[in-house]
Symmetry: D4
Subunit: 252 residues, 8 copies
């Protein structure tokens, strides 16, 4: 999978420092540690430049603790998403975490400082979109980004959004989270020239059908530069925004 | 159904000028003329104050001619919607109509002058929404309204819409037609204090799913004063807008 | 956004009574107060002629109290919708509200008297549609309308509806709320000549699919003058009905 | 499958007039004739008391001719549904059929006279629902029923329907066909005490989604006695109505 | 609505025994009693030949008691459907009911004896479809029908169903309830010549999507004589089956 | 149903050792025992070569005990699926079962040893797909198969899957369970030449819509040899895999 | 990807017969030939034991000819699916193919003889399902299987299917293709003990929604041993059936 | 909208070089030219740094020519998307364009050279996804990007994709277009650390439901860094990729 590593293995085989059989074994076995219920990938941090992430929902506190320990052993810091308050308490009794109840994110290990050149904006249409917006914001901060929050800026009260044109105009990426007013992504997309990541939220009622309405609305945006992640996927938006915000212009 | 007429019939029966059996017969037979393939309702114009409307799609030119003639006999003017160009030609050879190919509407009989106190706005997000927007506009004009058109004002280019704030602010009703950018209704709904009638259009591609995306987006609008009609139902929007625009404040 | 205010600002700038920088600042900062979790809009009551509305669902009692206080400071009366009984009790311990458990609406501040010229009708198909119907009715009353209620008038028992033809005939607007029998809007739409606002409700079972059946049925109505709001959106229907009912005929 | 025939076969086996092996063979081979592309069932007319029916759509004219001939050989009359005009012409050149272009039904063989005690009503909401309504009506007539047609009686013009209360009240079954106004079935269901068979039609546009709206609306009817067949399935409605109309009260 | 009553009223008016105004009032007021939360229809039993039915779900015990009392006053017996055990207990403390926990139906008043000439069959695919099947069966029994139950006869074990061919063959109507195996209605429809009423149930998991799969499957049945009611609508199926089972052949 | 048995019955009839009437009775009565709430099929184990299976969800503990006893009487072993922990405890107090809380499967009777020639692989994309994957694995083991488990091998970390190419390459069948990453089935399908059974799981959030996303993704797989079972239907996958794994090449 | 080949390459590197750089190149370049518009995979026939397959729909005749030639060069035989008659003619002018217009399949190269131990059954519910059924049957034959066809055996006429119990009972795999009567797969699944591959077809009308109804019905089958492929995917069913039919019991 | 311009206008007003009324007029009129059927935005190129784009579908050749001329007047180059061959010919007779029939894109004006620091990859699963993939690629090239194309790399033949790991690893952005194999985006997302833009295509059949399957699959990707644009929206993907590829690291 990783070209350099494969080439290196092949060179070792040629040099006689590695048997073909062992090379094959390494190709398959090395990259992760198998806990039974999960495979812990010690190379990922290197390969993708970010802390390992655990999707907390659907795992027991015990499983989470196990994975965190395996990761921390190697010095990786860990981000745990979708961690409800009760499970967070159980986990915190066994490993050291910092937990934020709004975004439902816990961090174990050192928080990296700001590493990206500019800032990103997280905009949310209504106050009930906050958990998703905060999941995006806290994720981005944990990955070394400066984040500006613009909340309660739904398009039905356009002046609230327009009052922040300066902030929007300087952003390197904008995340737009909205449940009912999927339009927020389109309107922002028309105002800025940087990438806009739209996050539909499942919050609303009636014909929002669990986020479907916002999802479709965002996909149909006529504003160029807008793309969409899964309903309620604040983490994915924050993660992608961080990648973009860290992009350098030239020498890669 | 019509209380006055029922009461009048009953009075005639009491006065002996009408037998109970004939009264019953009148209750059932009078209000419309049966052409076999359609029932022509001569009282509707009186009852609802508008020309009779024929939904042209799915009727043959012969059937349309027959209905128009039955109506014109009583002096009613007639609006024919969803009339494609070919059928319009066939109809026009037999009865006198004025046909507009963009809105696909034909009118037979005298056009009423402007009868409503203010004007209404028809706004369309893109140029491809024009057939639906024009169906709304031409309908409203045929029903005695002054119409201001704001076309190509999708929210991805917000300044195009904001340039017309004056026009919007004075409108008594706004019709917002959009296929991809269902957001248009929300944004306008936040800018004006009059009723906004949203018309999703089926124009677009991909995840607009034949207008479903715009429909859901408009239904989920957080702007108060917005309601929605069927996908592509420009006629319904124009008709409803006309009712509202004709409303007087006091003496009804 | 507001033309007059912009023009006024520009005039002040020309007169030297306002610096360009301050004008820009005002354009952005003034219209609302930022509580962190929400932006309170002090101009809205003036701009749209109604009390400020708080969508109670998804906000904590503390947040609601905070918003109410910020609004009441300026003398605005406040309407809180989707407020469950428990949260209403918590709110009422800190600010003065009047709470109605059926419509789940609380009002803080003086109730306006009747300000609209005629009355509007709220019709509901079944007794289980009452919460939504009452949300519409109580909203409309809070906004200065006289409301006539026609409940349990589903089309499967047509005589129950027809018995109220007088009431329907004189209405300036009709709201039709129905979960299973979406037909109610069509039938009423065929009987009256005023606007009909259809509210699908999520009440029912099986193939009503959370209100989808009623929603589609109402959108497909062949009766002219019918438009639709979101499933369960009694507030939106009441609000729109109030705008229409307040319309004067001439001098706007 | 047919108990009597099985018992009879068994008795023949016991009597020695049939070998077990032949009995088994008969159980499998006899009831139909295999044309390769279709299996012609000569016992069905006896078993179910109706002419054999060919679903014409998706079969070639040649295949239809082949099936008709196989059936006619045994004296069965045949009903061919969904037969477009062109294919009807091709078929009629080889076998004797009577073709009706509106219902797209052809009949080969003698038409049975009226065999059921009462009549049934076929009601259609709009003129564009006629092809489906006529498929139902012609089917029912071919199966020996007297049919009353009530067309263009959509619920948005309720008086058109109410004018025919007598006809409805005496019907033994009512078929209600509607594309946009699915409500027709509910309203009729509330007016009559006989079974109502609802047929959603695919005719309409926008949010009728190919008949889905009418289908859901009819399924959600609160009127007792209403059941639904597939979208556009006029044949199925006519067939079922005929079974019900032929039911005798006692001696079965 | 009721022709006879209207004619009678008109005759009274002609005879001078009733003023036109009173006649109009009677047309509207008489047929039901208004409890505020519900309208009790005292004529329905006569008009439709069945006890009044209360849909228990979504009504409070108090409301149910009130409606039952209003009905019992006139001697009507009452069927209460969708009544959960707890509410049943509360109701039974105030009015006399017989409650069946499987079908969740309560009856107040005398049970009518068997009044229909033949019997009907209720077939259920799995044991988990029983609540719906029993709702159909108990409803039909309460309306004077003899009912044969065939449970656990899903088509994946065809011999279980075929073992009851005799019972099926003699039925005047068959109700087929199934959640996963919507096929049951088709298979039975091919075996019998009487009407088959299909009831999709919401029981199942995965791609049954709350009954949608069974619903679509039943609507697409190629077996003639099959029609469908709403998902889980056992009552509707039992009611319709009763109407059909009571049909006499001749003199209506 | 079973040709041999029918032929045998017919021969007995011919020989006079069985009367036709008794033969008919046997055809219908013998194959199962009717417990009222369920029909226990004693021939199924013979006919299909597997223990009888009880779908535990939606049955009471009492009903399950009754069915288990009826089956155990004849020596059949029994598999109970979808049995929650609480019900399992209640059942285990009355009959002897071995219960596995992850797969929610209980077994009563002797476990068969491995009877199939090769092994099958159960692959799961994420740890939250484990309950479904284990339902498949435990089912297959109970039916006499050797099972290799590959868990946490979602396609977003391809190297985790590729590390097990050996195991995959030798499998006779692969079951691929995934909720979010429906792609797992496609990727495996492209790597192996044996049948792949895809099991969408309902686990996930947002636009996975209860498993719909994985279901559609798996159905659209371009890899040949992939087929799909119902969402969460681990049992069905394990059962089918067992049939395939037991297939011998020649003499059937 | 292929373990053996990787190991072999590594051994060559160790032996010095291959440089590491060349090994890496081979790992990436060798397995296919790049035509620009397509990548032709010369190892697939070996790897998966079947002729290469071209999905003809959406490719030009020129592209198909190009791919066929590249494959034939290496002696592979080729199966072209979804090839309409016109394109088939164009292709046949340049390369040698045998074309079957019903299944729309063309074969180039030698047809393999029967290589699998038993036969498989292709069952189709109606005559209009034949194109899909034949795609499955012809595919399976091209891959070396003996195929028995059972057509027009929909469950609404159960005796037609039951007449072929012998044929079904001996099959090693059954393919069940059905558009309206998705039930066919369930019924067959209950009658046989071998794997059943269900193919929903898009043929039908109304609420079959392009095959969705049959698809859901088949997925919800309660018969064990049934799995499902994509709507209209006759090829996939035939291919999978062939894999299963070729399975030997022991020595793999 | 543009802060700088507003501030500048305000300064001019203060300086007396502009009257407040003219300032207001400029705020509204200047940014675009109104052609009646479209509003041409001369500032957009400056504001967003790209040529103006015309969505060709749904516009007449005349309208397109008109817009192109208005734009070219100001020296802007123009990109016309979704332009079918026939319309392209008509347009090319009046204005100078370069047209590519695969991507259906025409360019008028000078093509910018490569302006972005790295390259982006466009990967397509099948040959039938090429039109969408090319729309993305040609768009990106027109906006100054170097593009590497990887076509026919669907995940069912994983080695085809893995052979290009080098190319993928160096990309600054990857666009993944796929209709059936939505999994492509997930697999690539797991292999690279740059942003991946997924484009579902409507190409496929059966349960791909016009691209819905790929859309959902891509939204549910567990690979971080993946976002999604509308079905078939190659242009949107190329445009967004270009923005990201042009991002510099520091000084914005």
């Amino acid at each position: 999978m990783e070209q350099d590593r494969i080439l290196h293995l092949l060179q070792q085989v040629r040099d006689g420092s590695l048997s073909p059989e062992h090379a094959l074994a390494q190709l398959k076995i090395e990259p992760f540690e198998d806990l039974g219920y999960a495979k812990v990938d010690h190379h990922r941090a290197l390969r993708q430049g970010v802390p390992e992430v655990i999707f907390g929902s659907g795992k027991t506190a015990e499983q989470i603790v196990g994975i965190v320990r395996a990761m921390r052993k190697n010095g990786q810091s860990v981000l745990i998403t979708r961690l409800d308050a009760e499970k967070a308490r159980a986990v915190s009794e066994q490993v050291d975490i910092r937990y934020d109840p709004v975004s439902r994110i816990a961090v174990s290990g050192e928080q990296s400082g700001v590493t990206a050149p500019g800032y990103l904006v997280v905009a949310a249409a209504g106050t009930s979109d906050l958990p998703v917006a905060e999941e995006a914001a806290v994720t981005a901060e944990a990955l070394g980004n400066r984040v500006e929050r613009l909340y309660d800026v739904g398009v039905a009260g356009l002046h609230r959004l327009l009052a922040h044109l300066d902030t929007l105009a300087q952003a390197r990426v904008v995340i737009a989270a909205a449940g009912m007013e999927g339009a927020l992504a389109s309107v922002i997309g028309g105002l800025v020239s940087c990438p806009v990541i739209a996050v539909p939220t499942s919050i609303g009622y009636g014909a929002n059908f669990g986020g479907l309405s916002a999802l479709l609305s965002m996909l149909n945006s006529c504003a160029s530069g807008v793309s969409v992640v899964n309903i309620d996927n604040g983490f994915g938006a924050g993660y992608l925004a961080s990648i973009i915000n860290h992009m350098g212009g030239a020498d890669k």
